[in-house]
Amino acid sequence: MAQESETPLLAVRDLRTWFHTFSGVVKAVNGVSFEIGEGEVMGLVGESGGGKSVIGFSVLGLIDSPGRIEGGEILFDGEDLAQAGEERLRHIRGRHISMVFQDPMTSLNPLHTVGRQMDEVLRLHTDLGAAERRKACIDMLESVGISRAAERLKAYPHQFSGGMRQRVVIAIALLAGPRLIIADEPTTALDVTIQSQILKLMRRQIAEKGASMILITHDLAVVSEMADHITVLYCGKVVERGRTRDLIESPAHPYTRGLIDSIPDPAARHDRLRQIPGSVPDIRALPKGCNFRERCPRAQALCAETEPDLTKQHRSLWAACHFPLVPGDVQ
């Protein structure tokens, strides 16, 4: 399904999005590059505060003061969105690239009916008449699994449950037929039982519409089910990327290994869940050398000296590590 095309749909190159706060410059995204082909799903993984969401907002030009895109390119279909004006971005948002937010309880306007919030997208981005738009909204609501759709158009968000609201949000994101969907932790705020329903729904819709998706999450288990490729972020930088299977089966970066090990495994009866020791360093005052070395079991003197570059590893993997893991390593 996922075909590597010559020109990727989205190519982010050396993106740097910094926040100029009172207590210093937060380099939330600092030199991130990745590509997504047509119809591909890419997982963007990392701990909280790792700059995952900022990448999503950067692509859509939704970084607010004191944040700023300091440099890099965001090539969408060959056009650099980092240089695009607000008016151009407005036409791309919702039409070509749309977004699904983390918390469905807060991402819908509580004072507008669901129908109005859906209609708004079509009104802005299509030439359809009122009746056609209504029909499109009803069809879309039904296809995301909401019954009695015509009635539900008149309902307000508070009359829906969390899972239903996220379905509405997804319907809104899909409505104008975008080529790329950025889903920012789309299931984090939902019950576990609802999570898998929503993920299945998203996977099916993406496949049907032939759209691409960036799935932003801290949950490796979720991306490993959904994504073709995974990019792992740490302190605003890519530490590892590659095909999902290669990365999950035998990661090259010790951080990725740590993330995988901290997924609860019902088969193995550990006394305690494995975790990565320590915590993410203060991003305003990063140490010299590798950002992960203080938490890394493989760190050596070199790691404190120079920061590793992203280099080719085994199979499809690229990792930024001086002492990468190779298949067969036992940690």
Binding site: R93, S98, M99, N109, P110, E120
Partner: protein, 321 residues
């Protein structure tokens, strides 16, 4: 809905009754109105007769009972001074006050909402800081001072606007309304501006605070991610969510201005209710004061009821119970 209306109605009557008791008691402790009525050289028997005529010779409870029972029959008593029904006196002057207040409130909203939205959406901009500094002035400058400065500048110095009076009025449904004539608008401008500044500043600050709060909400960013233009995000999605406290304050200010536009009316010699109230207080004209204060209570109760209805129009999660 019907039950709700009934409940509100009973509430309203209760409030009015309590106000009538308080006002009646208060008035009976503040001076003897008989001396306002009789000539300065009146004999004791003349005073006693006047007292009997006004019904002031009876005990307080009896006086109150008579007062209350005549109110229920639609008789609100006669002014000691004007010898006219107190209600008529007040109602004659009500339109003048109400139209001035409506112009003032309209002006306040027209200025406060856009500026408040702007200042809330761009809290760190230079223009926003200027707006906020201006609103502080609007809150802190006393109305009588603003009124006098406006009179000095626009009436005395430049001679653009008249300094006092109501000007020509048009008549509709038996009410004399200034807003029907150009001359009326010309006269209403200065007092309305004077009256509006304080409310304008408060509404502006409420709108700004609400917009700052709303701007942080996810649905605002989601709206932008849908490609909604910034202006529509602010006014279409944001403002409505910031409006509940603004509407609350609007209602309170509206009642307040109608009831107590006294100072502005005095400065501009605007023939409204406020001036009547001041005169009546000077002359211990008890019936007029009582009716006035009850009318004010009624206005507040009605405005609050309307505000509650408006809440339900703004927010579907609020229902009348």
């Amino acid at each position: 809905m019907l039950g709700y209306l009934l409940k509100r109605l009973i509430q309203m009557i209760l409030v009015l009754w309590v106000v009538s008791v308080i006002v009646f008691l208060m008035m009976s402790f503040t001076g003897d109105p008989v001396f306002m009525v009789v000539p300065i050289d009146a004999t004791d028997s003349e005073i006693a007769q006047a007292r009997r005529l006004l019904g002031l010779d009876q005990s307080l409870p009896v006086q109150y009972w008579k007062f209350l029972s005549s109110i229920v029959q639609g008789d609100f008593g006669r002014s000691y001074v004007f010898r006219q029904p107190a209600m008529t006196l007040i109602l004659e002057r009500l339109p003048a006050t109400v139209e001035m207040v409506l112009v003032a409130m309209g002006l306040a909203v027209l200025v406060a909402i856009p500026l408040g939205v702007y200042a809330g959406a761009n809290p760190n901009g230079r223009l926003s800081r200027t707006i906020m500094a201006g609103s502080l002035l609007g809150i802190s400058l006393p109305g009588f001072w603003v009124g006098m400065v406006l009179i000095y500048l626009f009436a005395v110095h430049w001679g653009i606007f008249p300094s006092s009076g109501r000007g020509d009025t048009g008549e509709i449904f038996g009410l004399r309304i200034s807003l029907l004539t150009l001359d009326g608008w010309h006269h209403i401008a200065l007092p309305a501006i004077t009256l509006s500044l304080g409310t304008m500043a408060i509404l502006l600050r409420m709108t700004r605070a609400g917009m700052m709060e709303v701007s942080r909400q996810d649905f605002m960013k989601f709206a932008r991610a849908k490609g909604v233009p910034r202006k529509d995000v602010l006014y279409g999605h944001g403002l409505k969510n910031a409006l509940i406290p603004v509407v609350t304050i609007f209602g309170l200010q509206l009642g307040d201005l109608i009831a107590f536009a006294t100072i502005t009316e005095t400065i501009f010699s605007w023939p409204g209710m406020g001036k009547l109230l001041i005169d009546s207080i000077y002359r211990a004209d008890r019936p007029v004061i009582v009716v006035y204060l009850m009318l004010v209570a009624l206005i507040f109760v009605v405005i609050n009821f309307i505000v509650d209805l408006v809440y339900t129009l703004i927010d579907p999660r609020i229902s009348l119970k």
